[in-house]
């Protein structure tokens, strides 16, 4: 039995805010080639952008000597995206953002990136790298999921 075919695309980003848009464009192009509907491509772009921003800001701590790896693996009906940084990974998931608490100053206005990632893709997992390096977030978006 032959393995399902998959295609891999890799991008290496500098640790500079704004370069997440390169990963967004690449993910968008791959998803279009796979036939994803426009609404799901928009979901993917936001999730990939937030993953890259986290990698740049928190993983690599804005250290411009480091880079962020983005690996897209396109299967027959699934697109997997890994965003890899040189951080130690996250210790625990932050609480779901609460707009009422934010509006009343009980919670900072930021801290929505991971929530958006989880809400917009079909799977999201954060993996801490061995010896505190090469941590990654793995996102999966499926072609059969209907656009909302």
């Amino acid at each position: 039995m032959s393995e399902p075919k998959s295609t891999t695309v890799e991008v290496r980003l500098p640790t500079k805010m704004g370069y997440e848009k390169v990963a967004m464009s690449t993910a968008s192009a791959v998803a279009k080639l796979m036939g994803f509907p426009e609404a799901r491509i928009e979901d993917l772009k936001t999730a990939v952008a937030e993953a890259c921003i986290n990698a740049i800001e928190h993983g690599n701590r804005l250290n411009e000597k480091l880079s962020v790896g983005v690996v897209l693996q396109a299967g027959t009906d699934t697109l997997e995206v890994k965003v890899i940084d040189d951080g130690t990974g996250i210790r625990k998931q932050p609480a779901k953002p609460d707009i009422d608490r934010k509006m009343h100053g009980e919670e900072g206005p930021r801290g929505m990136g991971m929530f958006l990632i989880q809400a917009l893709v079909d799977e999201a997992e954060w993996v801490a790298g061995g010896e505190g390096k090469s941590s990654y977030v793995r996102l999966v978006i499926r072609l059969d999921k209907e656009a909302e």
Binding site: A39, E42, E50, G105, R110, G111
Partner: protein
């Protein structure tokens, strides 16, 4: 590749005759947009500005840091007794704003005419 946010203010009247400040944004809304978003809002005269519309028609990209700036604007507006609504968001960002709960504090409209009519 610094993101650039454009912002300017138009002063209009609603069909009911109320003065409305429209903050029109363009480009990206990200962490570098603080001055464009909050600076533009804070330059509005507080005593006379009670109704504010945020126009996202020209915005290409909003990330979570940009959303946080919008929330900071809403906090300041709530404390000043101002009403804020928004229009011109794409279907995707309408969904994102709804997901994070912004719609509890700022009604979203598809376009300027519908937003003005609701004020």
């Amino acid at each position: 590749m610094e993101s650039v946010t454009k912002a300017h203010v138009d002063q209009l009247k609603s069909p009911s005759g109320y003065p409305v400040a429209i903050l029109r944004f363009g480009g990206d809304i990200a962490s570098t947009s603080r001055e464009a978003v909050l600076g533009t809002y804070e330059a509005l005269p507080r005593e006379t500005t009670k109704l504010i519309l945020l126009d996202f028609t020209g915005v290409d990209y909003i990330n979570s840091s940009g959303i946080a700036l919008v929330i900071q604007l809403l906090i300041q507006a709530a404390n000043a007794g101002q009403t804020v609504c928004a229009f011109g968001l794409s279907a995707h960002f309408t969904k994102v704003f709804t997901m994070v709960g912004i719609t509890k504090y700022a009604r979203l409209f598809p376009n300027q005419a519908e937003a003005l009519a609701a004020l």
